[in-house]
């Protein structure tokens, strides 16, 4: 509690101080310093909360319909851990990343917004009063919005920021209603919440949509691929790895309030998750912009998380605590895992951006030779995000799979078998597509020959940008190998979630058994690899090893432009799903017998943005402009309105 308060004070003081630093050089040192110190303190508080059950804090500080009431239980602690881990490391990275903007931009303001964002996220997960939660939630949205439009003088950036702002605000509108229903007759304090049976379903729906907008569930995901690419990379890392998780937190928290889970919740989450995940990874595969690709893959991972939670709820509601434990632990663990590898990926993308100044994948290539550390960490993260053993991504997905497999037999002959089939198929599809997507991302970006002049003379990023990536890559491997300990450490979190129906240690134990074996296997893999490496070394010890050009099937003069491009790599799959991806081609060639100029351009638009939201907004605007004739400037008309109103009201009332 002291730690937490200290962290908050550090964030606040830092934010205020940095506002006055302005353009000065110090911002890039002071900002990260405050962020790291605060994050470390808060992280300590969070770990303490997970281990000892946390604290509750009520301050005599009133605001309209609310009281400053904070509480940190293991669940909040867990999310706090994720948030602090990411924002601390991202801050270290950002200090060097932003150095390019010194004197050009108000870095002080930017860093103070960064601190406010982190603080507000911590406040969101600890707020124990509906109104306070909403305030923190909105501050989080607004501050992240300003971070997104860091390069606000570019119209593109501003547009993206606006889309984000509107999306998150509309989501919040539903949350307002939800909290008002939850806290009927002014009991907005979470301790006083009691939900009437009739209110449960509406609240759940509102929560799914409202929080889903922040998390990026299917029709509401449109802001992610717009906002993340435009933000500075360390900010996109924080947003994608930590901030959208607050949406997941919200859903879980509300579900806890709503009492014992219902099968319908499980179904909703599973189906929403499956659609979100598959659509997300498909769109990711189709992108040409590295950061857009990563943003879409965040959508995918949110889908996986929600599949896990849904399976867990379904298991609990149908009376299979073990499956509940498996599903929920898988989903929860994936929150952490995704945070870890997605921040590596965004930071890596940032380093690439930083050194070749374009996010276009087609301009990259051969960077592994030029930026080895970035390349390697990016590669590890890609392996992890494809859920490949022995990395952490596999553990969470394994738990979900395992849950689904067990559920299959447990609920044999009932309708809910279908759920586990959906889970397995969608996870399998997502896995395959993710592999395609990230072999494209890692392979085209870092391997082969450079595809552009900038890529040819790319340079490795600075030490402070590399350290966070290395640390996180380490986390990937550690969580992957020592998963049983992680699961046992997180036991209180699961207990908090399934509080209505304590799953008991045995359930988690049974989940942990295979994990033990998996970590053994992981160790065996590493061992075998070493042995084989030794063997290979022995075989090649005194042989001639030649360096030549790539085998080009006898072609005379191969150039780097002859390499397989990213879009052609993805083409077979994007072709299969063209309808969903709204992908199109523009073929430009001049006519005549011998066309000199020829260009083909493929693109895939987000069908939800282009077929759902744009028409909606343009429609509203169109209708409004049609109605502007009401205010056409003639006094007579205005008086006419008054008279009409008067007469009709008189006739109505009397």
């Amino acid at each position: 509690m002291v730690l937490f308060a200290g962290a908050m004070i550090v964030f606040f003081v830092g934010a205020v101080l940095l506002l006055f630093i302005g353009r000065a050089k110090g911002a890039n040192i002071a900002g990260p310093l405050f962020a790291v110190v605060g994050s470390v303190l808060a992280m300590a508080a969070s770990i303490d909360a997970i281990r000892t059950g946390g604290f509750e804090l009520v301050l005599p500080w009133h605001f309209q319909m609310g009281l400053l009431h904070l509480k940190m239980d293991p669940l909040s602690g867990y999310f706090g851990l994720v948030i602090c881990l990411v924002s601390g490391l991202a801050a270290i990275y950002g200090g060097q990343y932003m150095a390019a903007y010194t004197k050009k931009k108000q870095l002080g303001v930017s860093w103070s917004l960064y601190l406010i964002l982190t603080a507000s996220m911590m406040l969101v997960i600890t707020a124990w009063n509906g109104v306070l939660f909403l305030i923190a939630w909105e501050i989080m949205s607004v501050s992240s919005f300003f971070l997104v439009i860091f390069e606000s003088e570019k119209p593109r950036v501003l547009k993206a920021g606006w889309i984000y702002l509107v999306a998150t605000h509309l989501g919040t509108a539903l949350l307002l209603v939800m909290f008002m229903i939850l806290g009927k007759n002014n009991s907005y304090d979470f301790n006083l919440v009691q939900v009437s049976a009739t209110a449960v379903t509406p609240i759940f729906i509102l929560a799914i949509i409202g929080f889903g907008t922040k998390a990026g569930f299917l029709p509401f995901h449109v802001w992610l691929p717009e906002a993340h690419p435009e933000a500075p990379s360390h900010v996109s890392a924080v947003m994608s790895a930590a901030m959208i998780k607050t949406g997941i937190y919200g859903i879980i928290r509300i579900c806890i309030f709503l009492g014992p889970p219902r099968a319908s919740w499980g179904w909703t989450l599973i189906i929403a998750g499956a659609l979100t995940g598959i659509f997300g990874v498909l769109s990711a595969l189709a992108q040409h912009n590295l950061k857009r690709l990563l943003a879409y893959s965040s959508v995918e991972n949110i889908g996986i998380i929600s599949i896990g939670l849904g399976l867990g709820f379904l298991g609990l509601s149908t009376g299979h605590p073990i499956i509940g434990a498996l599903g929920i632990s898988g989903g929860i663990l994936h929150v952490m895992n995704h945070a870890v590898f997605k921040s590596i990926l965004f930071l890596g993308a940032g380093s690439v951006l930083h050194s070749i100044h374009t996010p276009a994948i087609e301009k990259m290539g051969g960077l592994m030779k030029r930026m080895p550390i970035t390349g390697t960490t990016f590669l590890i993260a890609s392996a992890a995000i494809c859920a490949l053993p022995p990395f952490n991504g596999f553990i969470s997905e394994f738990l979900i799979y395992f849950g689904a497999f067990s559920f299959l037999y447990a609920s044999k002959g009932t309708f809910s078998v279908l759920a586990s089939i959906i889970v397995i198929v969608s996870l399998a599809l997502i896995g395959g597509l993710a592999l395609a997507c990230f072999s494209k991302a890692a392979g085209i970006v870092f391997l082969g020959e450079p595809r552009s002049f900038e890529a040819k003379n790319a340079h490795e990023s600075g030490i402070f940008m590399r350290i966070p990536m290395i640390i996180l890559a380490g986390c990937c491997l550690l969580i992957g190998v020592f998963s049983p300990y992680v699961i046992n450490f997180l036991h209180p979190v699961f207990e908090t979630i399934t509080g209505h129906q304590p799953i008991g240690f045995t359930a988690l134990e049974s989940a942990a058994i295979p994990l033990v074996m998996i970590s053994k296997t992981a160790l065996i893999i590493v061992m075998v690899l070493f042995l084989l490496a030794a063997l290979r070394w022995y075989l090649l010890k005194d042989k001639t090893i030649q360096e030549t050009g790539t085998w080009d099937c006898g072609y005379a003069a191969p150039t780097s432009r002859m390499q397989y491009t990213a879009s052609s790599f993805a083409a077979p799959i994007t072709g299969m799903f063209g309808a969903v991806l709204g992908s199109g081609k523009e073929l430009k060639m001049d006519t005549g017998l011998f066309p000199i100029f020829l260009s083909i351009k493929t693109h895939s638009k987000d069908i939800f943005l282009y077929l759902l939201y744009r028409p909606l907004f343009y429609g509203i605007e169109w209708a409004a402009l049609r109605l502007h004739f009401l205010q056409r400037g003639y006094n007579q008309l205005y008086i006419f309105y008054i008279v009409i109103t008067l007469i009709s009201l008189l006739l109505w009332v009397l």
């Binding site: 290539g365 592994m368 030779k369 590669l379 494809c386 859920a387 490949l388 053993p389 596999f394 394994f398 799979y401 395992f402 497999f405 299959l408 002959g413 089939i421 397995i424 198929v425 399998a428 599809l429 896995g431 395959g432 597509l433 592999l435 395609a436 072999s439 392979g443 391997l447 082969g448 020959e449 058994i513 295979p514 074996m517 998996i518 296997t521 065996i524 893999i525 075998v528 690899l529 084989l532 290979r536 075989l539 090649l540 042989k543 001639t544 090893i545 360096e547 030549t548 050009g549 790539t550 085998w551 080009d552 191969p558 780097s560 397989y564 052609s568 790599f569 083409a571 799959i573 299969m576």
Partner: protein, 296 residues
Amino acid sequence: MKYIITTHLLFTLILCPVIPGIIQKVKAFFAGRKGKPVLQMYYDWGKLLRKGAVYSRTTTWIFKASPLISVATGIIGVMLVPLGKTPNLLSFPGDMILLVYLFGFARFATVLAALDTGSAFEGMGASREVQFSMLAEPAMLLGLCALSALSGETSMSTMFTSLQAGTRPVLAAAIFIVLLAENSRIPFDDPNTHLELTMIHEVMILDHSGPDLAFIEYGAALKFWIYASLTASLIVPPGFSGEWKSLGAGLIALILVVAAVGIVESVMARLKLTRVPQLLVGATILSLISLILIIR
């Protein structure tokens, strides 16, 4: 108990290169030729392992690492997968998920190695590889799903021991198709074509040479063995009790499966690449049908 495990393991590690030989023989028989010796692959190895290596200037450590990874995953896979009712080294609930994702790991490594060379052809092969595996994965997992639903077990060894009759043939068919796809056999891919444009797996390893190539071949052989033994375990009649007997039965079944592959390769032509996805979806549907038959 211990003995059989070790025997099975060693025996797999040593014998797996025979499989390609057997297929060659079967095909030769159908073509009315004499064909290569069954042990041909051992001779190839002998040559490859003695050779030095040639690397492209473009490549990085990934290119060198991927053969090792494919072998390593193969070895682990062998530890995971039983043959018939034979117990195996690593067996725990949910091990089949690990198996599938291990192959995913190997594929990831191979694809990256292919992209590492920066060659147009290898890139093309990689792209096809990911597409087809993306489609084969659900089929595989659904098949395993059906198995576990059928047996109520989530670990492969126990799964096969407590496996009743039922929809096994359908499952076997599904897994068999997956086998053909995953090991890039006809009708999905022609292992001994000579036109890079038409290849999938072979084109990805164009640039590997010497011991690396040997490792890759060995890894491929292991992978084939694993799939084959999965299929074999499905077609072993449930009657057999006793480990050694079941092992023998498994071996026979495995050889049958391999022969079946040879027959398929001799009687079928290679599919058009655009037709391949349909076949894989067909496999998925097969395993889905069997699953539904089981859990209804």
